[in-house]
């Protein structure tokens, strides 16, 4: 099957030809199969945001290309614009982009640009609001007078309302409290399950991404440093630390226990797994 997104030799240089020239990403090759839940991590400035803005054609590659379902997204202006509706991108701090007089109209902005019928738009707005838990009472309020967390949800709903096949979120939980983070992440998981869409989650939190993603990609200095499922990635803890990344607390505990001589697997990355691993240690101890 053709991957839904394929990236070939992607390089992006900012301010080319000036003293402020900056190579943000370099020679990235990647295939993303349909329906995958992908986690993208990396230190500040490693090029994550630059990379994802290529996937819906907001940035033009300096060299290389991006294929959506096997076709170059930059082949024509129309194609690029079409891809924007298929590949939904939620920016960092998306609440700063709200502009309409009412919540309803803001969520409807994307579908309206798709030139859908009123009825279709209405259906999508309600559905998207449902996914992120925005109650209908808020529909006629001004988005500017809501709380930060609510604004964030509305902004995400604005992208979900386009029913994208690929949903990309750039640090959707930045600056939220733990319960706010948890609920936004579970909204994303629900959308992934319900729609079967491909999801790319950019985050700084190893904890979250290890728990949710099927595949993790680590960016370092504008290149893909590691590309592996969560179960394998954390056994390379030293490497991750050298790239300025945290490892999940459960993995840290497991690694420490190993150092102390206990035969525990290094690929533990959730509290649940850690609990089971420790309990099974006790079982084994009993047996002897």
């Amino acid at each position: 099957m053709t991957p839904i997104i394929k990236v070939e030799g992607l390089t992006h240089v900012y301010s080319e030809g000036t003293p402020f020239k900056k190579v943000a990403i370099e020679q990235i090759d990647l295939e993303i199969p349909e329906g995958q839940f992908l986690g993208l991590i990396g230190h500040t400035g490693s090029g994550k945001s630059t990379f994802i803005q290529h996937l819906n054609g907001l940035l033009k590659p300096t060299s290389g290309r991006v294929l959506y379902k096997g076709e170059d997204i930059a082949r024509s202006k129309e194609a690029t614009r079409d891809v924007r509706f298929k590949v939904g991108l939620v920016f960092q701090y998306p609440e700063h982009q709200l502009f309409e007089e009412t919540v309803y109209r803001d969520i409807a902005f994307g579908p309206k640009n798709m030139k859908l019928s009123e009825a279709e738009i209405d259906e999508r707005v309600r559905e998207a609001a449902g996914f992120v838990g925005v109650p209908e009472e808020l529909f006629q309020r001004s988005p500017l007078e809501l709380s930060g967390g609510q604004k964030r949800r509305i902004a995400i709903a604005g992208v979900l309302a386009m029913r994208p096949d690929v949903l990309i979120l750039d640090e959707p939980t930045a600056g939220l409290d733990p319960s706010g983070r948890e609920s936004i992440l579970s909204n994303v998981v629900n959308y992934h399950k319900a729609s079967g869409a491909t999801v790319i989650l950019v985050t700084h939190s190893m904890e979250d991404v290890a728990r949710l993603a099927q595949r993790l990609i680590v960016f370092h200095n504008g290149r893909v440093a590691i590309d592996a499922p969560p179960s394998q990635i954390f056994s390379r803890a030293e490497e991750l630390r050298s790239m300025g990344l945290e490892i999940p607390k459960s993995t840290a505990i497991a690694l420490r226990l190993r150092e102390l001589g206990l035969p525990i697997s290094p690929s533990v990355y959730t509290v649940e797994q850690l609990k089971n691993a420790i309990l099974s240690l006790r079982e084994e101890a009993k047996k002897c």
Binding site: Q53, N56, R81, R84, Q97, F99, F109, V159
Partner: protein, 267 residues
């Protein structure tokens, strides 16, 4: 991209011109402009051209960046040259249709073009070699006497430095919001003029909202640090006139005096 527009166009460096006190450079720019408008003869224009060339050389500014700065004004330069060429009376050399071109016309046109180009280059040299903050500081001190007649000099300078400080931030913000709206299918580039004006709404509203939010935050932050205007404020970097500043000023004034003398003698 929007960001590539140079604004404030300061090129950091450490040449003599960069190191001059901003006040010196401001005064010299005024002196230079005065001399430029006094110059009338080939000799005085030659002296002015030489001065500009020496200043460019000393500041090590790339000629390319200077031409880049002149580019947007090419139309005005050519237009004023043409007007001078065609409408100056004198001994005709070519005549066609209703126009006559005279020696005096050619001379006036060349002088006009040179004058405008030197005027622009001179002021560019100021902004290329002086950071905006230093420039506003310099202006504030130079305008200090105006406080006597109740001109809020300090407040004006503060507003100017804040504005300069936030131009790049606002450009960045515009870029970001534009991308975010494009991601939702907004189209800023095609369509009729009215459509395009309407398409700006999703850009302008968030931009204003965030500008006001920033202004609010900045005001709070300034108040938290007990900012209360000019009274007994000291500076981290006090401007100090060095020997080279005085030397430069003397040279500048000699230039102006020389040009005035030349024009008095009709040269």
């Amino acid at each position: 991209m929007l960001k590539d527009i140079t604004l404030g166009q300061y090129f950091p460096g450490n040449t003599i011109v960069h190191r001059l006190d901003p006040r010196t450079k401001l005064i010299l720019t005024v002196v230079f402009i005065a001399a430029l408008f006094t110059a009338k003869s080939y000799i005085s224009y030659g002296i002015m051209l030489l001065t500009v060339a020496v200043c460019i050389g000393l500041s090590r500014i790339n000629l390319k960046s200077i031409f880049k700065g002149l580019k947007p004004l090419v139309f005005i330069i050519i237009l004023s040259g043409l007007l001078n060429l065609l409408y100056t009376q004198g001994k005709p050399i070519v005549e066609f249709w209703i126009f006559t071109i005279s020696w005096e016309g050619v001379r006036a046109a060349v002088f006009m073009i040179l004058r405008i180009m030197m005027l622009i280059t001179g002021t560019f040299l100021l902004t290329y070699t002086t950071s905006p903050i230093a420039l506003t500081d310099g202006m504030e001190i130079l305008m200090n006497p105006l406080k006597k007649i109740k001109v809020p000099v300090h407040e004006l300078a503060m507003m100017m430095s804040i504005a300069l400080r936030f131009i790049p931030t606002l450009i960045e913000e515009t870029d970001k919001i534009m991308s975010a709206q494009k991601a939702r299918g907004a189209d800023f580039e095609t369509g009729k003029l009215t459509d395009r004006a309407k398409a700006l709404l999703p850009l302008l509203v968030p931009l204003f909202v965030s500008a006001f939010r920033r202004a609010d935050e900045l005001a709070t932050a300034m108040e938290c640090r007990c900012y209360h205007g000019d009274e007994s404020r000291t500076r981290m970097k006090t401007l100090k006139m060095e020997n080279i500043d005085f030397a430069a000023l003397v040279l500048g004034i000699m230039l102006l005096a020389g040009i005035i003398v030349l024009s008095v003698f009709g040269l």
